[in-house]
């Protein structure tokens, strides 16, 4: 019998504290491993989760609801799509959403995520020669190492959401 799309649905509201990121990374990874049975996906989506939460905590603003994380899957033809979304409050005057959209467009301007990642690494190296600068590797690492497509939007005024989507082939068990 075909698996229901709700085989995997996790929603968490997390206080925006740095120390919360690693437990959530591990929890997301374990949920992925439990449902999808892949250690590679466990590590990849755990990393994706940590990078998105780091951004949300660095660039978000305080919100009584904390940072919201949703991990879910849907069926796309003969594949599963796993979607990890992180939603956080931002200052109304923040340019962070625009900056993220520009970064995602920059990643898409390369033929492959690997090419974009190599270009980003080279930029970090060149900045290191000039003794400074932020890395800016998080999103492009999600695309390359996490194998995820990225997009972002504003679900409500004062909030932004980043979605990382990856396709997972159906296993034999899924198809029986």
């Amino acid at each position: 019998m075909m698996n229901d799309a709700r085989d995997l649905y996790v929603e968490l509201h997390i206080p925006p504290e740095w120390s919360r990121i690693d437990p959530v990374r591990q929890a997301v990874g374990l949920c992925v491993a439990a449902v999808l049975g892949s250690e590679d996906l466990r590590d990849a989506l755990g990393m994706v989760c940590a990078e998105l939460l780091e951004n949300a905590i660095k660039y978000g603003t305080s919100d009584p609801h904390g940072v919201r994380l949703v991990l879910q899957q849907s069926i796309q033809g003969n594949q599963k799509e796993v979607i990890l979304s992180v939603i956080n409050a931002v200052e109304r005057t923040s340019h962070h959403l625009t900056a993220l959209q520009q970064r995602i467009e920059w990643i898409r301007s390369y033929k492959t995520p690997a090419e974009a990642y190599m270009a980003a690494l080279t930029m970090v190296y060149e900045r290191a020669e000039d003794h400074g600068g932020e890395g800016g590797l998080g999103l492009v690492r999600i695309a390359y190492e996490g194998g995820c497509q990225l997009d972002c939007d504003s679900p409500a005024e004062g909030y932004m959401a980043v979605h990382a989507r990856c396709l997972v082939p159906m296993s034999d068990r899924d198809l029986t």
């Binding site: 990374r25 590590d43 990849a44 990393m47 940590a50 970090v124 190296y125 290191a128 690492r141 190492e145």
Partner: protein, 122 residues
């Protein structure tokens, strides 16, 4: 050379031979600003390596996870080691997908000068 312990990360410094300083990365590197801790430590390591003409071997096989800010710090180490003509080797577990993807990508900094070498292990 002393070990580094910072949060969930431990870097164990071991000198088994007169010419090689091994740095074993253990645990997780997930600090908000890992460069603040790693950069001064790497400066000490490079100073010792220059004085004693050592090769630095970075071992990541037992590292569970690192964040992208840590990758930035490692790239800075690669750049600084090259500028000081200190040889670096990077050993990782190629059987772990995230390690293979992360460290294979850093081969982009191998420039044929023999100062940066990669040793996949499994």
């Amino acid at each position: 050379m002393e070990d580094l312990i910072a949060g969930d990360l431990k870097i164990q410094a071991i000198q088994r031979t007169p010419t090689i300083l091994e740095l074993l990365w253990l645990g997780k590197s997930n600090a908000r600003n890992p460069t603040a801790v790693l950069s001064p430590y790497f400066s000490q390591v490079l100073t010792v390596a220059m004085e004693q003409k050592l090769t630095i071997e970075l071992h990541f096989e037992r590292l569970e996870h690192f964040n992208s800010s840590t990758i930035t710090a490692i790239i800075q180490l690669i750049q600084e080691a090259r500028s000081k003509a200190v040889k670096l080797t990077i050993t990782f577990d190629q059987g772990i997908k995230w390690q293979k993807l992360s460290f294979d990508a850093l081969r982009v900094f191998s420039k044929g000068d023999g100062l940066l070498e990669f040793r996949p292990a499994s």
